[in-house]
């Protein structure tokens, strides 16, 4: 089961500040609902976990992230993540290319292009929900990313964020109820908007 997502989110910060945060893999992971970096293996390899709770079913993916390319000139990051559900029976991978496009001194666009692939039970049961769920997850990610940028000093992103940046949000599982509501809202909006 594959789903391709191309999204653009406006960010309330300069392109440089956003680019600085984008290169902080642990920081980026912390913006992902339910995700956490557990270990940095080397300069381009990380280990991490993602927990998703859907009703009684808990999926807990454990896997690796490889930073495939970092291009400062175009402010583009390319990474590949894959993992298996430690509860058995599911696997997922994501190929993500993220780019920061400058707009003006205080705003930019975060552009993401990703292909998410699911295998096993998650695909058998989650297929019909996968598009809307992925939309919501990415939406929450963008909101968290924007939130972090707002709290970080605008021009001094490279400096150590001593107390200025909020502590990384707790890696708590994606809340099923909130997610379901967001998905339904998304559908309703799509229906009415048509």
């Amino acid at each position: 089961m594959k789903v391709r997502l191309e999204k653009t989110f406006p960010m309330p910060a300069s392109a440089d500040a956003a680019w600085a945060l984008l290169q902080d893999i642990a920081g980026v992971a912390a913006c992902m609902p339910g995700a956490k970096i557990t270990e940095q293996v080397d300069a381009t390899h990380y280990k991490g976990t993602v927990a998703v709770k859907l009703g009684p079913a808990s999926l807990s993916f454990r896997g690796e992230i490889e930073v495939k390319a970092v291009d400062a000139a175009t402010r583009t990051l390319h990474l590949f993540a894959k993992g298996t559900d430690t509860g058995g029976g599911s696997a997922a991978s994501m190929d993500l290319t993220a780019r920061i496009d400058a707009l003006d001194a205080a705003s930019c666009n975060l552009q993401g292009d990703s292909e998410v692939s699911m295998s096993g039970k998650a695909a058998s049961f989650g297929a019909r929900m996968m598009g809307p769920v992925a939309d919501q997850v990415i939406g929450q990610f963008a909101a968290n990313f924007a939130g972090r940028l707002k709290q970080a000093p605008p021009q001094d992103a490279a400096a150590p964020a001593q107390g200025a940046a909020a502590p990384a949000p707790e890696a708590k599982p994606l809340n099923a109820l909130a997610l379901a509501w967001a998905v339904i809202k998304g559908w309703l909006r799509a229906m009415i908007g048509r």
Binding site: M1, K2, T86, G88, S119, G120, S124
Partner: protein, 804 residues
């Protein structure tokens, strides 16, 4: 004695053949008192849960058991490496291939068995299974069988990559299994070349699953002290399984006991030997305690015995009057990752060559190419003899396609091509000898019953009215089935001929126990066989007990599948009863002091011709048979056993008609009427036949209207729960009208043919023909199953018929 009311009363008392006797087994089923494999609890029993692959194709780089073994209640974790020392990590299949019992270095389909966790209860076993960490390296998967034989296709089975054949002739590609051909290609090609009209259509029988209510499972119990293995399991063929287990394990077959118990539906799904059974048996041998393994619904639908997946091409050549001159049918068969397709040794494509159907077709050729894909293995016959649904679906669809091309009525084209009653026994171009039939009579009876002309008139009016919110379709199917495998000269599985057996013991007071090599899964054997014996021996059916499925008790037989119980074991039952009756006659002659030739049989007794007051009832004879008052040299007892090797298969047939109304705007198909006439020869229990027809039609409806196992491009199974897989309930199921004719089977001792599969085989094309007929005036020649509202709506949209 002998007056008609007395004879009738005695006959009624027997409740023999022709009586709609209520099923003896239902009392315990409807009270929830059946004994299924999951009801079996043995002391010290452990539970097995299988760890399955999330990937359709991947290499296994490592398996870490540590966390699972630390889980409370977990006793052991078995992988392929643990089965290697006993050489049971691979097993031979019924299709001439081998199959991984637990994945050895790589997985070739999603949900493939990778490990089994043994624990003190099933919850601990499942918890443990979730903690086994398997390191996979994903490989590209083949989902579309049309891509299997591409030059650059990934090789699915590295274990047999260099093998020139896997049981059925030369292979041309590592993903090729076999190519099977039948008929005369040159003659068929010549018929096409000189034909006035030809038609061609690509027709898919999608991958479906029989989905019995009870999933598969077993309790394996190996007694280390005696070396005796007992396996309680869901099997349609316990004796064949015992033979396979002996071959696999090296345990003497006399020390293996397979017990069937009650089985909650099979429909072909419970014929093969699955990895779960084998691992449970090995685990019991290793641990010395009983092991229970029961499939979940997901396990059942995703890994055990799917059916069909035949990508067919049908071609017919005819003259301009619609008389068929030639037939060419081919199919690309998707067998999944291992060829564990159940087939008789000489029939790798099953009985696909029955595809000339009910028609006299002089020249015919068929070819099936079977390939591997990264999907679950199997290929069972889902409520049909193997590949018969696929064959009949093709011919019955192609008859409609040809009729459309010629502008002929769909009933008329069938009439013009039927094998005529006087032509039986009729040998088809593929060499099958159709035993008996009355095809014209059956079709005409149905057309009259439904007022066919009236229906066509109504349809013409609806088609002429652009305001009609519905499209009306009329489907006809006039099928011939091939059941009752089979004569040992042509049919065997692993070298064992497909005969079957019955042993009858008559007790002094007239009670009877009969044991058979077949295995009921809901067919009502306990009732039907008893009725045969009741009529043959003149003893009441109520006192006749039928036992099957325990290999220590019953004589050897090939089991119940392919509607073979009545054609083969029913015949064995009649023959065994007749041996007993012959002995009884000798005793009667001795008691009445007349010669055997002076006796005649009447319902339940032998009487002296011309002196009806002189008679001995069967009950009296039963007691005498256990005394010393016997003809000189005769042994005591009234027992017999018969092994019956049928001289031919049987060919039940039928004529079905279906009327549907298709909602142009929602695509919903409403079955307005379904009229099914079946001819299965002599009718033993009309009520049970009726029930079988209802069940078969319901499963035909399921397949035609909704069942399908879809996969995504990575080989992920997208329909393995009842949330997705269509199992019709009383809410969806249409009303069935049934009818019958009786054309006896000339070679069966009772004149009976099988029946349970006819409605499935004949029903599916009838539904499709009805749905497609609704669009026929718009130029539509074929639509693939399933005819779900979504797919039919797409057709309506493509044609623009739903524009207001």
């Amino acid at each position: 004695m002998g007056d008609m009311s007395d004879v009738k009363e005695r006959e009624d008392k027997l409740q023999g053949m022709g009586t709609s006797l209520l099923r003896k087994e239902d009392a315990r089923f409807i009270r929830g008192q059946g004994s299924y494999v999951d009801d079996i609890k043995l002391p010290g029993m452990l539970f097995g849960a299988i760890v399955r692959s999330p990937f359709a194709h991947a290499r296994i780089k490592g398996i870490d058991k540590a966390k699972a073994l630390a889980c409370p209640g977990v006793v052991a974790v078995l992988t392929a490496d643990d089965l290697k020392p006993v050489n049971l990590h691979w097993m031979p299949t019924l299709g001439g291939d081998v199959q991984a019992v637990l994945a050895d270095k790589k997985v070739c389909f999603q949900y493939q068995e990778v490990a089994m966790v043994l624990a003190s209860d099933r919850y601990a076993a499942y918890d443990g299974a979730g903690l086994v960490e398997v390191d996979y390296e994903e490989l590209p998967a083949i989902v579309d069988p049309k891509k299997s034989m591409a030059p650059d296709a990934p090789i699915i089975r590295e274990d047999i990559e260099d093998k020139k054949e896997v049981g059925h002739g030369p292979r041309t590609h590592p993903n090729h299994i076999f190519t099977w051909e039948a008929g005369d290609k040159a003659a068929a090609d010549a018929a096409f070349k000189s034909a006035e009209v030809t038609v061609r259509e690509e027709i898919l029988n999608p991958r479906v699953h029989p989905c019995p209510l009870e999933t598969c499972g077993c309790v394996a119990s190996f007694d280390k002290a005696t070396g005796y293995l007992t396996v309680y399991m869901t099997s349609q063929a316990p004796h064949l399984v015992r033979t396979v287990l002996a071959m696999l394990s090296g345990i003497a077959e006399s020390k293996i006991r397979v017990v069937g118990g009650d089985i909650g539906g099979g429909f072909g799904n419970k014929v093969p030997v699955y990895p779960g059974y084998v691992v449970a048996i090995v685990a019991s041998i290793v641990t010395g305690v009983p092991i229970k393994w029961i499939e979940s619904r997901i396990d059942n639908i995703s890994t055990t015995g799917f059916a069909r997946d035949y990508h067919g091409v049908g071609e017919l050549a005819a003259d301009k009057d619609g008389r068929i001159k030639g037939l060419r049918f081919t199919a690309l068969a998707d067998h999944g990752a291992f060829n564990s397709h159940v087939s008789a040794t000489k029939f790798p494509a099953g009985l696909f060559s029955i595809c000339t159907g009910s028609y006299a077709i002089p020249n015919a050729y068929a070819r099936v190419d079977a390939v591997y894909t990264n999907k679950a293995p199997g290929g069972v016959a889902y409520r049909c003899s193997l590949r018969v649904t696929e064959a009949i679906y093709l011919i019955e669809r192609m008859m409609d396609v040809l009729a459309l091309k010629l502008g002929l009525d769909k009933a008329e084209i069938r009439r013009r091509n039927f094998v005529k009653s006087e032509q039986f026994p009729y040998t088809t171009a593929f060499g099958w000898t159709l035993d008996s039939g009355a095809y014209h009579t059956a079709l005409d009876k149905v057309l009259k019953a439904v007022d066919y002309e009236g229906l066509r008139k109504e349809q013409a009016q609806k088609r002429a009215d652009p305001k009609s919110p519905t499209l009306m379709g009329i489907g006809i199917s006039t099928f011939t089935e091939i059941v009752g495998a089979g004569p040992t000269k042509v049919c065997d599985i692993l070298g064992v001929g497909l005969f079957d057996s019955c042993e009858i013991r008559v007790h002094p007071t007239g009670g009877v126990i009969a044991r058979l090599g077949t295995m009921s899964q809901g067919q009502g054997h306990a009732t039907t066989y008893a009725q045969i014996i009741a009529t043959e021996l003149g003893l009441p059916a109520s006192d006749i007990v039928v036992e099957e499925g325990d290999t220590d008790k019953a004589p050897y037989g090939a089991g119940t599948w392919g509607s073979r119980s009545t054609p083969v074991s029913g015949a064995a039952t009649a023959m065994a009863a007749r041996k007993i009756k012959e002995k009884a006659k000798k005793i009667a002659a001795h008691l009445l002091e007349v010669s055997e030739g002076d006796l005649e049989w009447e319902i339940d007794r032998f009487k002296v011709k011309g002196d009806p007051s002189q008679a001995k009832t069967m009950k009296e004879i039963c007691m005498v048979a256990h005394t010393g008052n016997l003809p000189a040299g005769m042994e005591q007892g009234l027992n017999a056993v018969t092994y019956y090797d049928p001289p031919n298969l049987t060919f039940p047939f039928g004529a079905y008609l279906c009327v549907v109304d298709v909602d142009k705007f929602t695509g919903e198909v409403k079955v307005r009427r379904f009229y099914a006439l079946d001819d299965c020869g002599t009718r033993i229990n009309p009520m049970i036949i009726e029930g079988q027809i209802h069940g078969g039609l319901t499963e035909a409806f399921a397949v035609a209207m909704g069942q399908q196992i879809p996969f995504d491009e990575n080989g992920n199974h997208l329909g393995n729960s009842l949330m997705d897989y269509f199992l019709p309930t009383a809410v969806e199921t249409p009303k069935w009208e049934t009818d019958h004719t009786v054309t006896q089977c000339p070679h069966h001792p009772l004149g009976a043919k099988g029946v349970a599969e006819s409605p499935h085989v004949g029903g599916i094309p009838c539904f499709s023909n009805a749905v497609i007929d609704a669009f026929a005036h718009l130029g539509v020649t074929h639509m693939d199953m399933p005819h779900s509202a979504w797919r039919v709506w797409q057709q309506c949209s493509a044609l623009g018929v739903n524009k207001r």
